[in-house]
């Protein structure tokens, strides 16, 4: 284990030029810290602020308030603490495993989860580094192949055809903001839809089924149902990808769905199985853990 004794934190300052609205804005990065184990003294570098007063001959009072500096300072400190905790408690105690992982990963599982801060699949399902290739988007939606490219299906392709994962888990959860937006969305407002609404409308079919079956329930209860219906749709959409469908038929890939209820900390899970006639799929092995 190499110790960076007396290592100096390196500062990276680049400028990148971006054309926007006909003007050229210069984006500048400032202040980079390299955290290495062995630095007994944390070297704090304040992000360098270009002295625009001198450069542009402007008066100080026109300058933006120094809020940027404060948040930058706190942020750096907090990230340092977080990373070093990981390094102390996890990385160093299992250094051989991490060094092996640095050369190659071979996760057996791919998880598609929601971006919600409360439902990280690594945290809730206990996956350790190297175990699960994870995709997270709003409302854990998988669109069918005919809808064209999304960031989700490029990751699917990589995991299935290159990493050769053996299991795909679609994990949904209760109190999902995306599903609530879907259930709230009025279709006559189509032209004024926000980006969120446009995206969650991919779950339209689940919404229709939910409304048909449970319009007598409260809005919250309907949302719970829609969350579960949406997982089923995402799972079925996985099968529209030929390279997934073929592998499932050959038994090389198994597909699972699971629903995490964060009010009572329970997990409902089920598996997708091939029909006997090999043409359709159905749900099996349903269990609830609480």
């Amino acid at each position: 284990m190499a110790l960076a004794l007396g290592g100096r934190a390196r500062r990276l300052v680049y400028g990148t030029l971006v054309h926007q609205n006909g003007c050229l804005h210069k984006l500048q990065q400032t202040g980079s810290d390299r955290f290495q184990l062995g630095e007994a003294k944390a070297i704090r570098l304040l992000p360098r602020r270009t002295n625009m007063v001198q450069e542009l001959g402007m008066r100080e009072e026109f300058m933006q308030p120094n809020r940027e500096l404060e948040t930058n300072y706190d942020f750096l400190g907090e990230m340092r603490q977080r990373f070093l905790r990981f390094k102390r408690q996890k990385y160093l105690p299992e250094i051989e495993k991490f060094q092996a992982l640095a050369i190659a990963q071979s996760p057996k599982v791919m998880v598609i989860g929601c971006a919600d801060s409360r439902v990280c699949p690594s945290y809730v399902l206990g996956f350790q580094p190297g175990e699960a290739f994870t995709i997270r988007n709003v409302a854990n939606l998988v669109t069918p192949v005919q809808n064209g490219p999304t960031e989700t299906n490029s990751a699917l392709e990589f995991a299935v055809t290159t990493l050769l994962v053996e299991n795909i888990i679609v994990m949904g959860h209760s109190n999902c903001g995306g599903i609530a937006a879907l259930m709230n969305h009025q279709s006559h407002q189509e032209q004024h839809s926000s980006l969120v609404e446009r995206w969650v409308m991919n779950g339209k079919a689940a919404k229709l089924r939910t409304q048909l079956a449970s319009s007598h329930l409260s809005f919250d209860e309907q949302c719970r149902n829609c969350e579960k219906e949406s997982i089923k749709d995402s799972v079925m959409n996985l099968i529209t990808y030929p390279w997934i469908r073929d592998r499932v038929k050959r038994g090389e890939v198994k597909i699972h769905g699971c629903y995490y209820n964060l009010s009572d900390c329970s997990l409902e899970k089920w598996r997708l199985s091939l029909d006997k006639n090999e043409n359709g799929f159905h749900i099996t092995d349903r269990e609830i853990w609480s």
Binding site: R34, S117, G126, F127, P129, N137, E151, A155, G178, V196
Partner: protein, 259 residues
């Protein structure tokens, strides 16, 4: 599959390397990779890996050690979330920010995709990313968006290897990774003669910068940054050396002068 196939395989490799000495370096790299892959396979895998058992064990441990020991936190989280951070991280199994940056439930709204890329604002294409950013900035009102790249990224390696000339060999991967084509162009221009791995390392960091610049194409992000309510940060997790780099992006429009 017993020992005979293994012996045969080793013998064929030895023969090949005697005949073609120049392949030795490549063979060393590949053998190291196989060894590493086999090492990450846990010892309990002597029987077949059962994903259901794995997630059951994981979930039960989570519930016992985290959920039940912290009822106040989880009670609050059940009502809603108010994370301070939005994080873009790679889908790579080795770089979950919940591990490396110790994020707990409720801390960070997290999007994970190949090579942690952020495409430029588009109402139609890659709408999922726009939806996530809009939700985080306008609804959750996060204070920081952090894009975290990492070493040995398969997506960046693909970006550097694919020709990206329109003749795609994949359905979706090439279309996706070419989002960060400006990073590849820059790295190749600056370090044409470097080793491929070094170029990939530089590209991994440059791609984070391209994503940060793309974030500014979202009107609500620009507004937040200009007002000072939102900060954009870049990060790089180097798991080969066990290190982390962090930097920030400054963006502002100076007052107008009449000339």
């Amino acid at each position: 599959m017993g020992n005979e196939s293994y012996e045969d395989a080793i013998e064929s490799l030895k023969k090949l390397l005697i005949e073609k000495d120049e392949l030795k370096d490549l063979a060393v790299a590949k053998v190291k990779k196989i060894t590493a892959e086999l090492q990450t396979v846990s010892s309990s895998d002597s029987k077949t890996f059962d994903p259901v058992e794995r997630i059951k064990e994981g979930f039960v441990t989570f519930k016992k050690e985290k959920y039940e020991t912290n009822p106040a936190l989880y009670g609050e989280l059940a009502k809603g979330q108010s994370p301070k951070y939005m994080v873009f991280a790679c889908s790579d199994s080795r770089v979950c920010p919940s591990h490396i940056l110790n994020f707990h439930p409720g801390d960070a709204f997290m999007v994970r995709n190949i090579a942690n890329m952020v495409p430029p604002f588009d109402k139609v294409k890659y709408a999922g990313v726009g939806a996530a950013i809009e939700y985080a900035v306008l609804h959750l009102k996060v204070e920081n968006i952090v894009v975290i790249g990492h070493s040995a990224c398969g997506g960046i390696k693909g970006l550097m290897s694919f020709a990206l000339d329109g003749n795609n060999s994949t359905d979706f991967i090439e279309d996706w990774v070419k989002i960060c084509l400006p990073a590849k162009t820059k790295v190749l221009a600056e370090s044409e003669s470097s080793k491929f791995e070094d170029q990939c390392g530089r590209c991994e960091r440059e791609a984070v910068n391209v994503s940060l610049a793309n974030l500014l194409t979202y009107p609500f992000v620009r507004e937040g940054v200009a007002k000072g309510t939102l900060a954009l940060k870049g990060g790089y997790y180097d798991f080969v050396n066990g290190a982390f780099e962090l930097w920030g992006l400054q963006y502002g429009i100076s007052p107008v002068h009449s000339i």
